[in-house]
């Protein structure tokens, strides 16, 4: 009997062992089968997800810490389709709040593929709208009403410009795909945007991964002075109205270091509504005329010709020239702006009366080699290197070019047949206001990253003329301004400057009825702290710079000395002596 039990026990044990072995064999087989790999992959796929962490786009400040470009929270409004119970009421409510039609929302809610879990109804919804929707959702949930069940809000940041259209031509804008266009936003897009980080985020909280370090984009501090920028834009807008000009630009720069303090151009647009771009601009070069559009500057160019001639020793301030009203250069007759002769003049008189004949004579005396060598040194025909996207380089024809003719030596001397941007002119003339050293204009004052501020050093673009020449011409232009263009003067301050009236070239020659008027000036003459360049396109009340751009210069200078705290010359002298 006992033996019989033993046999039975052995049989049962053997059965269990066999079953156990079978289970183990099956486990090994399944784990090493092809299907197992598929299951493993599926498991891995649902064990977590790749998430992209986008850094907050860096902000943009003016030099005094005023925010020019920041970020604000907007929402993506979506619906979790598996939780949605009533698409009819959902469509009606969302349509009402989001400004969509019932059909639009209903189509999205019911027309999506069955595999979809979630659908976006609208993105970039403002905080106020979302707050109202959240309140309604809460009320319905409290009342166990499922009409909005499944509604979800996902917040994210969107670029915002608190100053709206202020300095819009300088800042540029950021589209919804996060890319910067024009100006600072485009030039420094990589710095501002930062580097997105993609990581695998497991769903298993036991495997909570390390939080990725996603540094915010670099914050930029510009050389712009917000208050001065606002005042300059107001002056420009008013000038367009007062003088019937089509468009215009005003630049204010510190000649000592190239800091751009204000850069106004028209038209401007509210950067929060960048969709208006296409209705305001025909092409990208119009976005910022100060750097993007080259034009024939006219008589402001005479400053450079005179600087070159003084520096090379062709003339001195007291050199006399008998103006007969015309001169032959390259077989072509060149006349003065009023087609009259001005008799005996010294070089101050030539600038004061803006005599084309005199300046053409000067360039002819200098000779082709010397004249164009100086123009090259002034940076004409080359980009200034300003840190803004979309800079044009203009055109300086030189001997050897197919379209250069000997007469160009004469006409170039007074700003005809040469095209420059307002910024190129300002940069070239900075040599005269800055002891012969030409500055590289720049917008970036500092970068802020990881709690550190990196100041951007100023750069110089060479010394085309000597300091002595610069001082001499500085004084000549101050005298010239005092005697020629009284509308540009500012009581209490000695300023230097030059007007420029240029007929507009067409396919059929120069249009005498339309002009570009310009003015370049700076002050105080004994210690230049600001330079101003003005360009008004086709003014209609007067075609002359002395009657349009000159008074605008005076207004800009007046506001500049206030904003920059520059005392009148007498007071400044007293303060220095103390």
């Amino acid at each position: 009997m006992r033996q019989q039990y033993a046999v039975r026990s052995l049989i049962i044990v053997a059965c269990f062992v066999l079953v156990g072995l079978g289970v183990i064999v099956q486990m090994i087989r399944i784990q090493n089968s092809e299907a197992a790999m598929i299951f493993l992959l599926q498991g891995d796929r649902y064990a977590g997800e790749f998430q992209m962490f986008y850094p907050e786009r860096g902000e943009i400040y003016d030099r005094n810490g005023h925010l020019l470009a920041g970020n604000r929270t907007v929402y993506e409004v979506g619906v979790s389709l598996s939780e949605m119970e009533n698409p009819d009421s959902m469509s009606y409510i969302l349509g009402t709040y989001l400004g969509l039609t019932y059909d639009e929302v209903y189509k999205k809610l019911t027309g999506s593929p069955e595999s979809w879990e979630y659908i976006v109804i609208q993105d970039y919804v403002g905080a106020e709208t979302v707050a109202a929707l959240q309140q309604l959702l809460q009320q319905l949930e409290d009342a166990d009403d499922p009409r909005l069940s499944g509604l979800a809000f996902k917040p994210h940041l969107q670029r915002s410009y608190p100053e709206k259209d202020l300095a819009s031509n300088v800042l540029g804008f950021v589209t919804r795909d996060g890319r910067g266009y024009f100006g600072i936003e485009e030039k420094y897009n990589d710095l501002l945007a930062g580097h997105p980080v993609q990581i695998w985020v497991p769903r298993d909280p036991n495997k909570a991964s390390e939080i990725p370090r996603v540094p915010n984009g670099t914050t930029l501090v510009l050389t712009l002075n917000r208050d001065l920028q606002a005042k300059v834009e107001t002056i420009l807008d008013q000038a367009l109205v007062d003088y019937g000009a089509q468009n215009g630009t005003i630049l204010v720069m510190d000649p000592r270091n190239g800091d751009i303090l204000a850069m106004a151009a028209t038209p401007r647009m509210d950067l929060n509504n960048y969709g208006n771009y296409f209705s305001l601009y025909d092409n990208g070069s119009q976005y910022n005329r100060a750097i993007g559009m080259a034009y024939e500057p006219g008589s402001v160019f005479k400053v450079l010709t005179m600087a070159a001639a003084l520096d090379v020793g062709t003339v001195r301030p007291e050199t006399t020239f008998i103006d007969t009203g015309s001169i032959q250069v390259g077989g072509i007759t060149i006349q003065n702006w009023n087609r009259e002769s001005w008799g005996q003049q010294n070089m101050v008189g030539c600038l004061q009366h803006s005599l084309n004949v005199c300046l053409a004579w000067i360039s002819s005396e200098m000779g082709v080699q010397s004249f164009y060598s100086y123009m090259e040194r002034f940076g004409l025909g080359h980009a200034t290197g300003i840190d803004l996207a979309g800079e044009a380089i203009g055109r300086l024809k030189v001997p050897g070019d197919g379209d250069w003719y000997p007469v160009d030596l004469g006409t170039n001397a007074f700003g005809q047949g040469v095209s420059v941007t307002p910024l190129q002119m300002l940069t070239a003339v900075s040599a005269i206001a800055n002891d012969g050293r030409m500055v590289t204009p720049h917008m970036l004052y500092a970068m802020l990253r990881d709690g550190h501020q990196y100041n951007v050093p100023s750069q110089y673009a060479g010394s085309p003329i000597s300091a002595e020449t610069a001082h001499t011409l500085n004084d000549m232009l101050a005298i010239s301004l005092e005697q020629e263009s009284s509308l540009a003067l500012l009581p209490g301050y000695r300023l230097a400057g030059k007007t420029g009236t240029a007929q507009i070239p067409t396919d059929y020659g120069y249009d005498v009825s339309r002009t570009n008027v310009s003015f370049v000036g700076w002050g105080p003459v004994d210690d230049p702290q600001f330079m101003v360049y003005i360009w008004l396109q086709t003014p209609t009340t007067s075609i002359w710079s002395s009657e349009t751009a000159a008074p605008v210069f005076s207004q800009v200078a007046e506001q500049t000395v206030i904003v920059l705290n520059i005392p009148p010359d007498v007071v400044r002298g007293q303060l220095i002596s103390k």
Partner: protein, 155 residues
């Protein structure tokens, strides 16, 4: 007498019920040891899970606060924008100053301050360079570490 005592002790040690009890005791010891290790492991993993969840929630909270900061900064800039300040100044009866109305006073030792925007440079990026091992370490890994350290206290 002494031989009898030895025999009794020997018989006691050889008693079948005692051998059986020793086996049961050893088995129970293994079971209890295993249960203790399992309980400890469960406790550690549960705490790691809770910590992991808290980390995720804190991360969301940091992101939310960052967004809120950016939002508030922009709102503040809206309220102090040039246009808004001009309007407020005009409403309070102020008007733009003219050059002749300004008085300049020499202040000995005063230098015109250079722009300084360091306030904005405050680093607001959340950083967790290394996560404490307590949040990710398994019990076995902890034992390994202890053995390697020779029982020294982990700082």
């Amino acid at each position: 007498m002494q031989g009898q005592a030895t025999q009794i002790i020997h018989a006691y040690k050889q008693a079948p019920w005692r051998v059986q009890r020793q086996w049961i005791g050893a088995f129970l010891l293994i079971v209890i040891g295993g249960a203790m290790i399992a309980a400890l492991y469960l406790d550690v993993t549960a705490r790691a899970a809770v910590a992991g969840r808290e980390i995720q929630e804190l991360r969301l909270e940091i992101t939310r606060i960052q967004r809120e900061n950016a939002d508030l900064e922009t709102q503040l800039a809206d309220l102090t924008s040039t246009a808004a300040m001009r309007q407020r100044a005009a409403a309070l009866g102020y008007r733009p100053v003219k050059p002749g109305e300004l008085d300049y006073v020499a202040v000995p030792g005063f230098f015109k301050p250079e722009p300084d925007i360091l306030l904005a440079a405050e680093d607001r990026t959340p950083r967790v360079e290394t996560q404490p091992t307590e949040y990710t370490q398994s019990l076995l890994e902890w034992f390994d570490e202890r053995i390697e350290l020779g029982g020294a206290r982990v700082p």
